[in-house]
C-alpha cells in the first residue's frame, strides 16, 4: 500500500463577500499534515479573511472547506466544537481577556475542555510561558505587557492544548529582530516535536522563507501561486516579484474613476 500524506486542510473554490464586496475569489488551498504553510500577500488581500473561514468564524458565499476530514460548512455544533479543540489560533491582535492575568488567560482552554488536575494545568501553563520566554509573567495583567510579549502570550494560549493544527496571524509583526528569529525557531520546533500542522500569515519575507514548506501568495482575494520557497523566488509573476522585492504596486490611474472617488457625493 502506498502511503499518501493526507490533506488536513482542503479549501476548494472559496468565494466570500463582506456585504456586496467580494473578498475571496475561487480560492483553492490545501495543506498536508505536518506542513508549515505561509500565506503572504499585501494588506487587504484577504489573508485574515481566509483564516477566519478555516476557523468557521465566517460563512462563505460558495465553495467548500474540510478540516481534518470534517466539512465545516455542514458540520453541527458538536462536531465543530470537537474540531476547535484540535485547533489553536493566535489572532493578529493577540486577543487576551483584559480582566484576567496572563496565566489565567493561557490556561483557560484547559479549564474549559479538560478534567486535568490543577497541578498539571499549572505546570503546563508554566512550560508554555517558559517556551515563549515569558517565565515569571504569569501573574501580570495583559495591560502590563509589551506588544511583543502580548503576541507571545497569545501564542502560548494557542498551543496550550497541543493542537494538531495551529493558525498564526502575523507572528513577527511588531517584534524586535531577535525575538522574531526566536519565534521562527519555535514554530519549526513545534512542528518537529509535536508534529503540528501550522498555517502562518506573515509579511516578513525572511521569516516566510525560513519556515515555509510552501507559500501561498494572495493578491486581491485570489491565489496567485502556491509553491516552495524556491518556486516562489523564481516565479516570473510580476505581482510576486513586487511583493518579494518590496516594490510598490504600480496601479494604473484611471483619471475618470480617480476624480470620481475624490469628489464622491459632490456636484
Amino acid at each position: 500500500m502506498t502511503s499518501v500524506t493526507q490533506d488536513i486542510i482542503e479549501v476548494k473554490n472559496l468565494v466570500s463577500h463582506y456585504g456586496e464586496r467580494q473578498i475571496l475569489r475561487n480560492v483553492d488551498f490545501s495543506v498536508k499534515k505536518g506542513e508549515i504553510r505561509v500565506i503572504m500577500g499585501g494588506s487587504g488581500s484577504g489573508k485574515s479573511t481566509l483564516l477566519n473561514h478555516m476557523l468557521a468564524l465566517l460563512k462563505p458565499t460558495s465553495g467548500s472547506i474540510k478540516i481534518d476530514q470534517l466539512n465545516i460548512l455542514t458540520a453541527n455544533r458538536k462536531e465543530l466544537s470537537k474540531l476547535r479543540q484540535k485547533m489553536g489560533v493566535a489572532f493578529q491582535g493577540g486577543a487576551l481577556f483584559s480582566s484576567m492575568t496572563v496565566g489565567e488567560n493561557i490556561k483557560l482552554p484547559l479549564k474549559h475542555h479538560t478534567e486535568l488536575d490543577d497541578n498539571t494545568i499549572d505546570i503546563m501553563t508554566r512550560l508554555k510561558l517558559e517556551l515563549m520566554n515569558l517565565a515569571g509573567f504569569e501573574n501580570l495583567m495583559p495591560s502590563e505587557l509589551s506588544g511583543g510579549m502580548l503576541k507571545r502570550a497569545g501564542l502560548a494560549r494557542a498551543v496550550i492544548m497541543d493542537p494538531k493544527l495551529l493558525f498564526f496571524d502575523e507572528p513577527s509583526a511588531g517584534l524586535d529582530p531577535v525575538t522574531a528569529v526566536e519565534l521562527d525557531e519555535l514554530i519549526l520546533k513545534l512542528r518537529d516535536a509535536m508534529n503540528m500542522t501550522i498555517v502562518v500569515v506573515t509579511h516578513e519575507l525572511e521569516s516566510a522563507f525560513k519556515i515555509a514548506d510552501k507559500i501561498t501568495v494572495l493578491f486581491d482575494g485570489e491565489v496567485v501561486m502556491t509553491g516552495t520557497v524556491d518556486e516562489i523566488k523564481q516565479s516570473s509573476d510580476e505581482r510576486i516579484q513586487n511583493l518579494i522585492n518590496r516594490r510598490p504596486r504600480n496601479d494604473v490611474v484611471d483619471a475618470e474613476q480617480y476624480i470620481q472617488r475624490l469628489t464622491a457625493g459632490q456636484n
Binding site: 486535568l116 488536575d117 497541543d162 513545534l190 516535536a193
Partner: protein, 107 residues
C-alpha cells in the same frame, strides 16, 4: 496508551506504550504518584512510547518534583524520536536523569 509496571532492581519500572495525551495522562499521574508515595524510585521507560503531549510532560515534572522532595529519583529510559524532541523543546532533558537503556541502571 497502555502501561505495564515491573520491578527492576530496587526500582519500579513503568513502561509507557503508545501515545500519552490529555485523555490518559491523569492515569499516568495517578500511577507515578502512587509509586512515589510507596517510597519507591521510578524508571519511566519510553522505549515503546511514540508520542507524549504537554499534559504528559507536566505529569513527569510534577512526579519528578515529588520524588526529589522525598529523596527518591525519577529516571527516564530510552527517550527517542518525538518524545525526546518534546523533552528537548522544553529543556527538560537537562533536568531529568536520562539513560539510553535499562542496562545503564545500576543498584
Amino acid at each position: 496508551m497502555s502501561y505495564s509496571q515491573t520491578i527492576h532492581l530496587h526500582y519500579e519500572r513503568l513502561v509507557l506504550t503508545g501515545e500519552v495525551d490529555l485523555h490518559n495522562s491523569p492515569q499516568v499521574r495517578k500511577q507515578l504518584l502512587a509509586i512515589l508515595k510507596n517510597g519507591c524510585s521510578v524508571l519511566v521507560d519510553f522505549s515503546e512510547l511514540s508520542y507524549i503531549d504537554s499534559s504528559g510532560i507536566a505529569t513527569l515534572v510534577e512526579a519528578f518534583n515529588v520524588a526529589k522532595n522525598n529523596q527518591l529519583t525519577l529516571t527516564i529510559i530510552a527517550a527517542a524520536g518525538a518524545p525526546l524532541q518534546v523533552l528537548e523543546l522544553t529543556n527538560l532533558n537537562k533536568v531529568f536523569p536520562m539513560v539510553s537503556s535499562l542496562d545503564d541502571i545500576r543498584e
